[in-house]
């Protein structure tokens, strides 16, 4: 764990969106039953960058995310993380699913410890790290609660803490906040940005919520019928706070993104 942290620190800091990709998709294609789901996607995410992928339901964005995670293997093309081809899930990538997918019979703490406990018996250090993570996602003191005793937002927080437990270099999120109410969603977006900035995590976040994409991302890709049709850079300053949402720049970018989505053939 410690070696991974120092390795992450030694890597060069994030450059602009056109810097060499830390996560790279090269002509990634995925077909299922002769149906093309992902149709030749080229995409680069620089180290430490936060990218969002937007699109309507069924446009292939979840499949693209699973390709990046190594849960699916591309039919054609390659997926690279830090220069190495991704063929199967790895410990360097954390994944947050649409639903929190917590194990109902485990406490919040044990859910966060799940990734570690599948490798070895968690020691006091692991427990301390997991408690710190729960604290970071704003669940300090609730570590003994089971998922059934947590609200939807709190469950999502546990799921994020679990995904961050192995200190992954890359975090992939598949509409993790879609089922939450607007206020909770905004709180979680803010906390996610804070956490990822803290750890310099490279993020690919799938959503269909335009404001969410603009608030979170450095860059947004618009996906339509398996292809990336448009990209939009979001030059809003960081750290991003609540007031940003009511600014003219923010709303102009939302309008641009909406136009890009409507313009996608």
């Amino acid at each position: 764990m410690a070696t991974m942290r120092t390795a992450a620190l030694r890597r060069p800091p994030a450059a602009g969106p056109h810097a060499p990709g830390f996560v790279t998709l090269e002509g990634a294609r995925y077909t299922y039953d002769r149906e093309v789901i992902v149709d030749g996607v080229d995409w680069r995410i620089a180290h430490g960058a936060f990218h969002c992928l937007v699109g309507r339901s069924g446009c292939g964005k979840t499949t693209l995310l699973k390709l990046a995670a190594g849960l699916l293997a591309p039919t054609d093309g390659r997926v690279l993380i830090d220069g190495a081809a991704v063929r199967e899930p790895s410990g360097r990538v954390g994944f947050v699913f649409q639903a929190p997918t917590l194990l109902e019979w485990l406490s919040a703490l044990d859910n966060v410890l799940l990734p570690v406990s599948l490798k070895r018996r968690p020691g006091p250090d692991d427990r301390a790290a997991a408690l710190e993570l729960l604290d970071l996602v704003g669940l300090g003191g609730l570590e003994g609660r089971r998922p059934g005793e947590l609200s939807g937002g709190q469950q999502s927080r546990v799921a994020i803490a679990r995904a961050l437990a192995g200190e992954p270099a890359v975090l992939l999120l598949d509409e993790p906040f879609a089922a939450l109410d607007a206020l909770t969603r905004e709180d979680l977006q803010q906390d996610l940005l804070r956490l990822c900035a803290l750890r310099r995590t490279t993020v690919l976040f799938v959503t269909h919520d335009i404001a969410e994409a603009v608030f979170l991302a450095d860059r947004v890709a618009v996906m339509e019928a398996g292809r990336i049709r448009h990209t939009l850079d979001i030059p809003l300053p960081r750290p991003r706070g609540r007031d940003l949402r009511y600014g003219a720049d923010f709303n102009a970018l939302c309008r641009d993104l909406r136009a890009a989505m409507d313009g996608a053939p």
Binding site: P89, L103, L118
Partner: protein, 254 residues
């Protein structure tokens, strides 16, 4: 327990008292022969004297032992078979028609055959009981393992869990409520298996005692034995419910 539940329970007891009272009154007023319908008071008297003289205890012990042994054997083998069939898709497809077919076979009809194989006495009854308990566990375990949330399976893939870890840490705990429902069904069937098994092949036990009482035309004793069997079933069923709650609570504490 809140007031509502308390009243409902009081009502159940009251109904029992009314039914027993009506039965008693019918026996006394109609002058029906005790050979046909014995009065509850007579049944109670027989029951108490049988228990007091100690004649009944060895039979209770035998039936309880057969039931518990058969239950343990049938449930563990059924669970293991369910795990294997739930995990190995090819084997499941190969064997499933046989599983269905064997469920239709009335297991008790095999009892005479088991008498030839295992002889009169406890072994035959335990084997019949185990066979009856085997199927609900097989069916429920197999179903439980196959209906795990696909997202959770993907999570375990993402965490690079081994197949064994996925089974032990995800599929079995997630399926435990369904598996335990199978155990509850098995408990009820185990009592039937043990008692009816004794009808056919037992020298001792409550089932064998019913046959003996029938031979003596002692309806009162038969009713007393029914009462004992019912009590035995209720005790084991309640114990299972408590075991189930304890297991689920333990599991949820991690």
């Amino acid at each position: 327990m809140n007031g509502h539940a308390m009243r409902a329970r009081a009502g159940s007891w009251l109904l029992l008292a009314v039914l027993l009272g009506g039965w008693e009154a019918y026996c006394r007023l109609s002058g029906v022969s005790a050979l046909v319908v014995p009065a509850p008071s007579a049944v109670l008297e027989t029951l108490v004297s049988e228990l007091a003289t100690g004649r009944l205890w060895p039979h209770i012990r035998v039936t309880a032992t057969e039931m518990l042994l058969g239950l343990a054997l049938g449930c563990s083998v059924g669970f293991l078979a369910g795990v294997v069939l739930g995990e190995v898709e090819g084997l499941r497809r190969l064997l499933y028609p046989y599983v269905i077919a064997s469920q239709v076979v009335p297991k008790l009809a095999l009892a005479p055959l088991f008498l030839i194989w295992f002889g009169f006495g406890m072994t035959s009854v335990v084997v019949i009981t185990a066979l009856i308990c085997f199927f609900p566990l097989l069916e429920n375990t197999m179903t439980a393992l196959r209906q795990v949330d696909p997202a959770k399976l993907e999570l375990f893939r993402m965490l690079r869990a081994t197949r064994l870890q996925t089974l032990v840490r995800l599929k079995i705990p997630a399926g435990l409520p369904v598996i335990l429902a199978g155990v509850r069904v098995a408990v009820v069937l185990a009592l039937v298996g043990a008692v009816v098994g004794e009808f056919i092949g037992g020298r001792q036990g409550l089932g064998a005692s019913i046959i003996a009482a029938q031979g003596m035309m002692d309806s009162t004793l038969m009713f007393a034995l029914f009462a004992v069997i019912t009590a035995l079933g209720l005790i084991v069923y309640q114990a299972t419910v408590h075991l189930e709650r304890w297991l689920l609570r333990r599991l949820s504490k991690g």
